[in-house]
Amino acid sequence: MRTFIGSAALALAMLGSTALSAMAQETIKIGYVDPLSGGGASIGQIGLNQLNFIADEVNARGGINGKQVQIVGYDNQTNPQISLVQVQKAIDEGIQVIVQGNGSSVAVAVSDFITKYNERNPGENIVHLNYAAIDPVLTNEKCSYWHFTWDASADIKMEALTNFMKDKEDIKKVYLISQDYSFGHAVAGAAKRMLNEKRPDIEIVGDEYHPLVRITDFAPYVAKIRASGADTVITGNWGQDLALLIKAAGETGLDVDWYTFYAGGAGAPTAIKQANLENKVFQINEGINNLGYGPAEERAGAYMERFSSAPVYFPRVFNMMDMVFKAMEEAGSEDPGDFIPKLVEMKHDSFAKGEEGFMRADDHQFFQPLYIAALGELGEGEKFDEEHTGWGWKLAATVPTEDTLLPTTCEMERP
């Protein structure tokens, strides 16, 4: 029992070193709460790199409102509970802007926490900037005044994708395969609804859900797709679930068109090249490299030079930080309570091609032009390939901002 006293002493010693709080106001501190430890770092680090890159750009031209910008990383281990403690840590260190993206589970937890925090601590304003979590609940049932998102939600992307597909006469039979969790269901549900509305003649020959990040061999699924006679596959898969699916399709010679959300990373381009699916895999997102837009190429080029071995980047992070800094400058304040009104309804020329997008006040979703691209041999003037495959993303269609608008059920409570 004596060890009780020992453990209490230990706790005291540890907490002593925890209780640092610096309230330096010389800099604008932005907290980045994403996985930064272990292997998760390879994903979370990309966002941190990009934020640092943008902060250095801003600092080089004198900072924001005369203050330097500093990015502080917090490792959340993709765990919602740890995330909340890390957010608390950031707040205690005087941070008011929290950037987070990986994992809808984390995003919902963080958004919920920050909303309650602001409500329970009147006078304190914390904002959650979300660059990657796209579960539609974030901008519908669980929307918040303190949460902004720059990635198009699953519904928006599907709206744009089906608008593109509806004009393709040769699509007759569509197979849906998605990961068995909320996002996968959101994707497949939207696809069914929208295709049914826009192209009732298309037959949905398969509606498959597979467990999330657990399948190591997609051969049985590919066999099913083949047996269904589908000519087109729509999938919300990301990461290894997409790379492996395409790999298995290539191995067994399945010949269909693929419509995807995330064919840009984690080995997917490599798998596409290996399977020799030239111009058969489509991806929709807010920007690709080969759009021939000068400012973007310049900025992306500088970024890639600095982080040469990790060239992946998110155009939306540029959109996000550019807009937030603009709002801070317009408001002349770094307090979210002051700059949020400027951010709401802000119009912004998007990073990828300089076409206009806007932040919608109803749900704090950024609407922007979306680009549908297919992976294939690079053509004239197309400089950027993916994963050193020699193949790059080539524009197939542009979806203007107005074609991406969707209603929201958000009933936002504003302070």
Partner: protein
């Protein structure tokens, strides 16, 4: 439908044989040393990553030899300097030691190769379609993996039946606890068996890496299933491990092929309307969706009806 059955059978047997490659080493180690090596799947992962790293420098064939040997040596070092020390603290400490090892190996792999899958490719000399049925290509590499695991299975069988070490292993399988009385070189035999056991897992890693996935979570994905195999088969039974490996391989592969849900079974009746409300989420879940949890359901069922496993003879 016929093509699905054919392809599923081939893939199921393939997956089952890979599982058995690992389960065999695990079983032998367990029988002789009384410790279930929780890090067994981690050595499989090491095999895959070593195979990847070596094959991109020296080619796949050297990797097929070098990687398992390396992993086997690491395994022997782990046994000599780790497990043997812990042995005196009892079985729980041994289990915990191998459990800690899974952490450290995973973290090391992530430290060197990251969390994203690495691009471990099928060797070009085997990158073609072995045969085509119903317009499905069956890749030659898969056939190769199948053949090699069967070959190793036969070699293992011969070793156990025909050699001195094999006799000792057999003795261990039937009379655990007797091995300690075999003489002064028992430590060396333990070390060797541990090395060979994890080496077998590493072979599985090298050959499975290109067709499955080579990533830092591969051990965590496979490990639990591996333990299901040895518990369902019966702890310490090689025959049980073989049956359970194939069973789980086939069950998992075939389950994917079926899109039947409770809703389909009951059709549209008064009863099904009531059930739908009560069962909610479960109602529309298809067998394909629950394919990955089938092994665990099997585990629970086996434990309820045959607590010692399919072919097990002893407790714990």
């Amino acid at each position: 439908m016929l093509e699905i059955i054919l392809v599923s059978t081939l893939n199921g047997v393939l997956y089952g044989m890979l599982l058995f490659l690992m389960a065999s080493g695990l079983t032998v180690i367990f029988s002789m040393m009384g410790v279930l090596n929780l890090a067994h799947a981690s050595f499989y992962m090491l095999g895959a990553f070593f195979g990847f790293e070596i094959s991109r420098r020296l080619g796949f064939w050297p990797a097929l030899i070098i990687a398992p040997v390396l992993v086997g040596l690491i395994g022997m070092a782990v046994e000599r300097y780790g497990l043997r020390r812990v042995h005196k603290h009892g079985h729980v400490a041994e289990l915990l030691f191998t459990f800690g090892l899974t952490f450290v190996i995973t973290e090391m792999v992530e430290m060197f190769w990251g969390k994203l899958p690495v691009d471990y490719r099928v060797p070009p000399s085997l990158d073609f379609a072995a045969f085509t049925v119903f317009s499905v290509n069956y890749p030659a590499f898969r056939l190769f993996v199948l053949l090699i695991s069967v070959a190793i299975f036969i070699a293992l069988l011969l070793t156990i039946k025909r050699t001195r070490i094999g006799l000792i292993v057999q003795a261990a399988l039937t009379h655990p606890g007797m091995v300690g009385m075999l003489g002064h070189n028992v430590d060396r035999i333990f070390m060797l068996v541990f090395g060979v056991g994890v080496g077998l897992a590493a072979i599985a890693g090298v050959i499975a890496g290109p067709i499955l996935i080579t990533q830092s979570n591969m051990a965590a994905l496979l490990g639990p299933i591996l333990f299901v195999v040895v518990v369902v088969g019966g702890l310490g039974s090689l025959g049980g491990a073989l049956v359970a490996s194939l069973l789980i391989g086939l069950v998992q592969t075939f389950a994917v092929a079926f899109n039947v849900s409770l809703a389909d079974l009951f059709g549209t009746s008064q009863l099904s309307a009531v059930l739908e409300v009560w069962l909610a989420d479960i109602w529309r879940v298809t067998i394909a969706q629950i394919a990955p949890i089938m092994p665990y359901i099997l585990l629970v069922l086996v434990l309820i009806f045959r607590p010692r496993g399919l072919m097990g003879t002893r407790d714990t």
